[in-house]
């Protein structure tokens, strides 16, 4: 690839001053690019480093067995972890089927339809729309009419975030399934729905699971849409019709408090979320990679 080697070939001219200047300029800019990469990776190391530094000491059995404490005393994060798991689970459970079906429409039935172009465009915008807007939306349609905050509202808000992620990856993965596979199934007399359910889905399975995992990863760290839908709860509550604690909102509340114990718990919670999210997204990536290399 290195073209400047030409000048060292026998018979070529000696490198001129201009050539030397061009080479120098190239080297300087490339050095800046390396520097940029080092800069970017530094942040990752710094953030993960301080998470472990501040959060690891608090990571004990108590975190998962005790409730969030009142100010000034020790405790755990059990109610917050429970709330996070329940709302994330419900949100993914509700959002995934809708996302998969919408992605199926875009890739299969409506592959050449005008509706697909519009849906894809809008879906991509929803994918990166500010999540706090989703929170406001759910507040308006659920919390305000019901008159109180609830775990249900939190789960619905998360579901609205899951739908575009799953729809996008499902479409992408179904589009990668080779058409001869579908044609072969159709030739055997299989109705279209069965071609999709039994052939296309099977071929795209790994990629679709990746999409769902990415959605779980994204949703489990979301705070903004929960702030005024599920609110928060100091106590153990399994009632989905009542305000519910979640790890991100507890971190938000505790980190901004003046109490040392609360701040320590916030760091521990932050470490738990980060480890969960990073494990999920690395798993998703490994799954996605095996699909590509196949």
């Amino acid at each position: 690839m290195e073209p400047t080697k030409l000048s060292t070939l026998p018979g070529s001219r000696e490198p001129s001053a201009l050539q030397a200047a061009r080479k120098r300029r190239s080297a300087i800019w490339l050095f800046f690019c390396c520097l940029a990469t080092a800069f970017g990776l530094t942040w990752l190391v710094l953030i993960l480093g301080s998470l472990f530094w501040n959060g690891f000491s608090g990571l004990s059995g108590d975190v998962f067995t005790q409730m969030t404490p009142p100010p000034g005393s020790a405790g755990g994060l059990l109610n917050a972890v429970y709330g996070s798991v329940v709302m994330t689970g419900l949100g993914v459970l509700v959002g995934t089927p809708i996302g998969i079906l919408a992605g199926t429409y875009m890739a299969e039935y409506g592959r050449y339809a005008r509706l697909t172009v519009v849906v894809r465009f809008i879906n991509d915008i929803l994918l990166s729309a500010p999540s706090i807007i989703i929170g406001l939306f759910v507040y308006e349609i659920l919390v305000a009419p019901m008159g109180h905050f609830s775990g249900i509202a939190g789960a619905v808000a998360l579901a609205f975030i899951v739908v575009p992620i799953v729809a996008r990856t499902t479409e992408d993965m179904l589009l990668l399934v080779p058409n001869p596979l579908r044609e072969a199934a159709s030739a055997m007399g299989l109705p279209r729905a069965h071609v999709i359910l039994k052939v296309a889905y099977k071929a795209a399975r790994a990629g679709m699971i990746t999409g769902v995992l990415l959605a779980v990863a994204r949703v489990s760290g979301e705070t903004a849409p929960l702030l005024f839908t599920a609110l928060n709860n100091q106590f153990w509550s399994q009632d989905l019709n009542a305000p519910m604690a979640s790890l991100p909102t507890v971190i938000f509340q505790f980190a901004l408090s003046p109490y040392k114990e609360w701040q320590g718990l916030a760091w521990t919670g932050a470490l738990i979320i980060t480890l969960t999210v990073l494990t999920l997204s690395i798993t998703a990536r490994v799954l996605g990679a095996t699909r590509i290399s196949k």
Binding site: A27, I122, L227
Partner: protein, 331 residues
């Protein structure tokens, strides 16, 4: 791909011949499934329409009370019940600009490194490492920014900035004031770190669409590596890069938690970027649950509507740019 379950497909197929009712049942199922998927696709559109409608309805009171003056009014006073969006819009734009000033050159640099310089064996792991930055939830950036980064900015970076720019004409106003650590500058830098991976991954993807023949031709006539990047790769991918940058901008404008922790939540416009400020999303996150009175709530929802419109325009533009490069890739 070969492990498609053959028994199942043949079983379904062999059941059909002769049996008319089961054939009809299959057809009905087929049509039902088609309708179901189409309904889900339309549901995606309905989500967006619902968001827009509910925000319009919720913000109606604020807009009918303050009129379009809401957009340029700086005051934000729950006591006198007088609200304006100017300070929040200003803060949103300024933090996003700071973020982009930092993230675009660095992000492009990393993308160049990953596609042109980096040894093949390291490309994938380094790319994943950068993308992990995108995977870290924003609340983590917030807590890290509050406890680690803001004190560092306050004791190290801001005094240096004030000392350096303090006696230059315009810049002395931009970098004026006591170093709080919490403020527009800190928020902008943290947003920059968050947006970085978005800019990087989109630019890397579009850089990889450059046909090797073009680059080889440029090398063939004796270009240096930088000249190839500058004169072949970047011009060829310009729309895609702009799309990636706009995508990052959309993120930076709407990001909530990371900003809420470190911006100070002060509804005022100051010339100095070191002073505390607020953004639209931070105002909503901080005040919505405590908002008393219909007008207060409605004003916050109106802020949400403004944010939605701004990000919609930016993201739509980004998608159009990226669609153009996709079309070329397909051709």
């Amino acid at each position: 791909m070969a492990d498609i379950a053959f028994e199942q497909t043949t079983a379904t197929a062999s059941r059909t011949p002769g049996s008319r009712t089961s054939r009809r049942r299959l057809d009905r199922f087929d049509r039902g499934f088609a309708v179901l998927t189409q309904a889900a696709a339309i549901a995606v559109l309905l989500i967006l329409a619902g968001v827009l409608f509910s925000l319009l309805r919720g913000s109606w009171l604020a807009f009918s009370t303050f009129g379009f003056g809401f957009l340029i009014d700086q005051s934000w006073n729950p006591v006198t019940d007088r609200y304006g969006a100017a300070a929040a819009i200003f803060g949103t734009v300024v933090t996003a600009v700071i973020a982009m000033v930092m993230a675009v050159p660095v992000g492009l640099g990393i993308a160049v490194f990953l596609t042109e310089i980096c040894p093949y064996a390291l490309r994938r792991p380094l790319g994943i490492a950068i993308e992990l930055l995108a995977g870290i939830p924003s609340i983590i950036y917030g807590i890290w920014g509050l406890f680690v980064f803001a004190p560092f900015v306050q004791t190290r970076i801001e005094p240096a900035l004030i000392a350096t720019f303090g006696h230059l004409p315009v810049l002395s106003d931009v970098f004026a004031g006591p170093p709080y650590g919490i403020g527009v500058f800190t928020a902008g830098v943290i947003l920059g770190i968050m947006v970085l991976p978005f800019v990087t991954s989109v630019s890397r993807d579009v850089f990889e669409t450059v046909p090797p023949v073009l680059k080889e031709a440029a090398y063939g006539i004796g270009s240096t590596r930088w000249e190839v990047i500058r004169n072949v790769v970047i011009p060829y991918t310009r729309t895609g890069v702009v799309g990636g940058v706009m995508l990052g901008l959309g993120r930076a404008l709407g990001e909530t938690m990371a900003v809420t922790f470190v911006i100070g939540n002060a509804h005022k416009i100051s010339a100095s970027i070191l002073a505390p400020g607020t953004t639209i999303s931070a105002s909503i996150a901080n005040e919505f649950t405590e908002a008393v009175g219909d007008l207060y709530t409605s004003s916050l929802i109106a802020l949400g509507l403004i944010l939605f419109v701004i990000t919609f325009v930016v993201l739509a533009f980004a998608r159009l740019m990226l669609m153009r490069i996709d079309r070329r890739k397909g051709a």
